[in-house]
């Protein structure tokens, strides 16, 4: 039983982690492509259409990976988490079925037209199909996050005697106070990923001294979108999400901030430190007094409850993991804001191309948003443990009762093998696209 749950969890964590490498780029990138297309329509400047065309190739590859790795996600609710599906299907089935009905059909119908129909349907309609693909992918994110928000903070339900959750208020699923902040935060974060990737490839071409015209467009656009989105990620959306966690999951909050003791007169914010779960304290910590209280409650002296105030049995299972994920996300977020601000300043002063080091920095920073995004999800998901549905349904009670550990291990290994192959292919093909570079149409 223990093993079985463990493999189920590893399989879910592994497959969703891999899946999320792709939608985080495509959701953000679709907006940037729409921007390129729009600019082309307004200015009739061919180079923007060329930029759109180049990024559509990368989009197509990522989208394909997103689709291929997304299908197992949907199926896994039934295959590995049958008990969870049976008990909560009446509720999360709503949002998941709505995702299929409203966004997957939209995306998949217009994607083909968007990618291959430019000559067939003309420029204006082509812009429109791009817009629809963008709407479809953001709607997809909306329904998924609505599902997840319900698991983090269940609303609009009733529990029957047989343990089944039934929906009592449909509207509540979408007015869930957890949903809007999480959605906005997540979408800004996906825009951060896309901006960094666009800027990084721009930097690559500039440093390499080829495709200069396109490289400049990429870097400018990447920095503009990147600066705005990385600011949005921290404030207001990140801040708002943190306030939700304090309000609805105070134990999780204490664990992710690394606060063991309640401090009289206001909590410090931990910048660095390693949780020591034997002695229940942080080793080697560097902290700024009272700031956490201020950030959370706009008051330097409000008390924040430490972990020790709560019953140990209610603590998240993996406190160090939770703490590190959270600090990695926030730490990288700070670095990303700093880097983008600097780059924007250089761009404004026209120094950017001369200061090679910042181009190198942008290039090397492009994996950071991916790491921050995954770290953010790990924070959310590990913080929710040991619950599947917060405070109501334990993870141990959600797995399929009839699938043996041997079977789950087998499929887990299968997924690992398959995804390693997919990942290698993806990198190979991505490398080719980047290496070939954007094609330019002569005016």
């Amino acid at each position: 039983m223990e093993d079985m749950i463990f493999y189920d969890r590893m399989q879910f964590a592994f497959t969703i982690t891999f899946h999320y490498l792709f939608p985080q780029l495509t959701m953000g990138l679709s907006l940037i492509i729409v921007y390129f297309k729009g600019k082309y329509l307004l200015k009739h400047d061919q180079k923007y259409n060329d930029a759109a065309k180049f990024w559509m190739k990368i989009f197509a590859l990522n989208f394909m990976m997103g689709v291929v790795t997304g299908i197992p996600m949907e199926f896994q609710f039934g295959t590995n988490w049958a008990k969870f599906s049976e008990l909560t299907g009446g509720i999360i089935g709503q949002t998941l079925a709505m995702e299929g009905t409203f966004s997957f059909f939209l995306e998949s119908s217009f994607l083909g037209l968007f990618l291959f129909g430019e000559k067939l349907i003309g420029q204006k309609l082509h812009f429109l199909t791009g817009l629809l693909v963008f709407i479809g992918s953001w709607a997809s994110g909306w329904f998924i996050i609505a599902t997840n928000a319900w698991m983090q903070h269940p609303v609009g339900y009733e529990i029957l005697e047989n343990g089944k959750f039934v929906l009592t208020n449909f509207g509540a699923l979408f007015s869930n106070p957890w949903l809007v902040p999480a959605y906005l935060h997540n979408q800004s974060a996906s825009l951060v990923t896309a901006s960094f990737v666009v800027a990084a490839i721009g930097a690559f071409y500039l440093l390499n001294k080829n495709h200069l015209e396109q490289g400049r467009i990429f870097i400018k656009t990447g920095i503009a979108f990147g600066l705005v989105s990385s600011l949005l990620v921290a404030f207001p959306t990140g801040d708002w999400s943190a306030k939700n966690v304090v309000k609805f999951q105070p134990i999780t909050f204490a664990a992710m901030e690394g606060i063991f003791d309640t401090e009289k007169g206001g909590s410090e914010i931990i910048l660095v430190g390693q949780p020591d779960m034997e002695l229940l304290k942080l080793d080697n910590k560097i902290a700024v007094p009272n700031v956490l209280s201020f950030l959370t409650y706009q008051n330097f002296t409000t008390e924040i409850k430490g972990l020790k105030e709560f019953d140990v049995s209610k603590w998240p299972k993996n406190i160090p993991g939770l703490y590190y994920s959270y600090h990695i996300m926030v730490g990288l977020g700070t670095i990303l804001i700093g880097l983008m601000a600097l780059a924007a300043f250089f761009l404004w002063r026209n120094y950017l191309e001369k200061s090679k080091w910042i181009l190198w920095a942008i290039m090397f920073a492009s994996p950071f948003p991916y790491i921050a995004n995954l770290a953010g999800w790990y924070t959310a998901e590990m913080g929710r443990q040991p619950w599947l549905v917060y405070n109501l349904l334990a993870t141990d009670h959600g797995a399929s009762p009839n699938v043996s550990a041997g079977n789950t291990l087998f499929t887990l290994l299968g997924f690992v093998g398959m995804y390693v192959l997919l990942g290698l292919l993806f990198l190979l093909l991505l490398g080719r696209i980047v290496y070939k570079g954007p094609e330019t149409t002569k005016k």
């Binding site: 299908i71 199926f75 609710f77 049976e86 509720i91 998941l96 083909g112 037209l113 929906l167």
Partner: protein, 358 residues
């Protein structure tokens, strides 16, 4: 209300089989009959812009199943654990096979993805047929051994096969001679369906050959259908009970029969699309007849201790289902719009377009 969602789920899955079915069929034709590079290209072009949208019918159908019949979703997805995950893997291979093929222009690269696409299609057709076979045959609900349930009444677990391959054995497996037979029917029927789609959407040089193949396969299909019908009686003795109770159900077997008869005349059709219409009739009628033969059950129980999963005991609560009545029809209107648009833009023969080939 349950009835409405039953019709929705069955229709979505049937539409899925009709649409993705021609992709599988095209894959099988591609594997066995397309020798020249230009024919292979034509085939991938004929399904290129569609396969992804077709696959969404499965995902969305699964989603609606989850929403309307969570118990059935939980029970069957976990009970058919291994075969389902394998179907997933195959679907993934099929998808990347189609999408990656055109990205590098090299004959060895082509060869790899052609095979991936073809073999995955073949196995998928087989597996989906086997799945249908499993559903009509039923499963050991609650995993009853010696009169005692091992699991809660609505859970079961099936190994991939049982040692005797006997559908009447006490310990069942996913594969036995009966489900394998239905699987073969699936392969043959979808090959015909895919060949018809290729005839309809392309000018490839193999189209004439394909018509002959469709004709021969139709004979095979008829024989298989007759064999399966008689073995069907062996496995499920009261096959026709539902039909005598509700005579209106006879429409569906008749539709299927019309399709089959039509297929025999494949060589005489003036329009290239006619064959496709008939194979669609055959498939749709056949799937609907199968579903109705076990109605109102979804997944019959082979033991007498635990009940079958029916549209009533597997459904979600009423409030949730009735909210769905509001948003779902809106979604359907949109889906229909996209669908019409898509097929109008990509109408006619697809060989010469420079789209669809990735």
């Amino acid at each position: 209300m349950e009835l409405f969602w039953y019709v929705v789920v069955i229709s979505m899955l049937t539409i899925y089989m009709l649409l993705d079915g021609y992709d599988f069929g095209a894959g099988i034709v591609h594997l066995f009959f397309a020798k020249k590079e230009e024919d292979k290209k034509a085939i991938t072009k004929a399904i290129g812009p569609f396969w992804d949208a077709n696959e969404v019918w499965l995902i969305a159908g699964g989603g609606v199943l989850f929403f309307a019949f969570p118990v059935l979703y939980a029970s069957s997805f976990s009970g058919f654990y291994l075969p389902l995950i394998m179907i997933l893997w195959l679907l993934m291979f099929r998808g990347i096979g189609l999408e990656l093929r055109g990205l590098i222009k090299h004959s060895m690269w082509y060869a790899i993805w052609d095979k991936a696409f073809g073999i995955a299609s073949l196995l998928l057709a087989l597996f989906f047929g086997i799945a249908v076979g499993n559903i009509v045959r039923g499963v050991n609900m609650g995993h009853v051994v010696n009169g005692v349930s091992t699991y809660e009444p609505h859970y079961f677990v099936l190994p991939l096969w049982n040692p005797t391959l006997n559908p009447l054995a006490e310990s069942l497996g996913v594969i036995d001679w009966f489900t394998l037979l239905i699987g073969l029917i699936g392969v043959v029927a979808l090959t015909i369906h895919g060949a018809n789609w290729i005839i309809y959407k392309t000018n490839s040089t193999i189209n004439e050959q394909l018509k002959r193949i469709v004709f021969r396969l139709t004979i095979v299909l008829t024989v298989l259908a007759l064999v399966s019908l008689s073995s069907w009686f062996l496995v499920i003795p009261h096959l026709f009970e539902n039909y005598f109770a509700h005579p209106i159900f006879w429409i569906f077997p008749l539709i299927s029969l019309t399709g089959l008869i039509g297929l025999f005349r494949i060589k005489t059709f003036k329009k290239d699309g006619t064959g496709f219409v008939f194979s669609s009739l055959f498939l749709a009628g056949g799937l609907a007849s199968t579903a109705l033969s076990i109605f109102p059950n979804f997944l019959p129980s082979t033991n007498t201790i635990n009940p079958s999963l029916s549209i009533y005991n597997a459904a979600a609560a009423h409030y949730g289902l009735s909210v769905g009545l509001i948003w779902f029809p809106i979604g359907v209107v949109f889906i229909a719009l996209y669908f019409i648009l898509q097929y109008r833009i990509f109408k006619g023969k697809m060989d010469d377009g420079d789209y669809g080939e990735h």
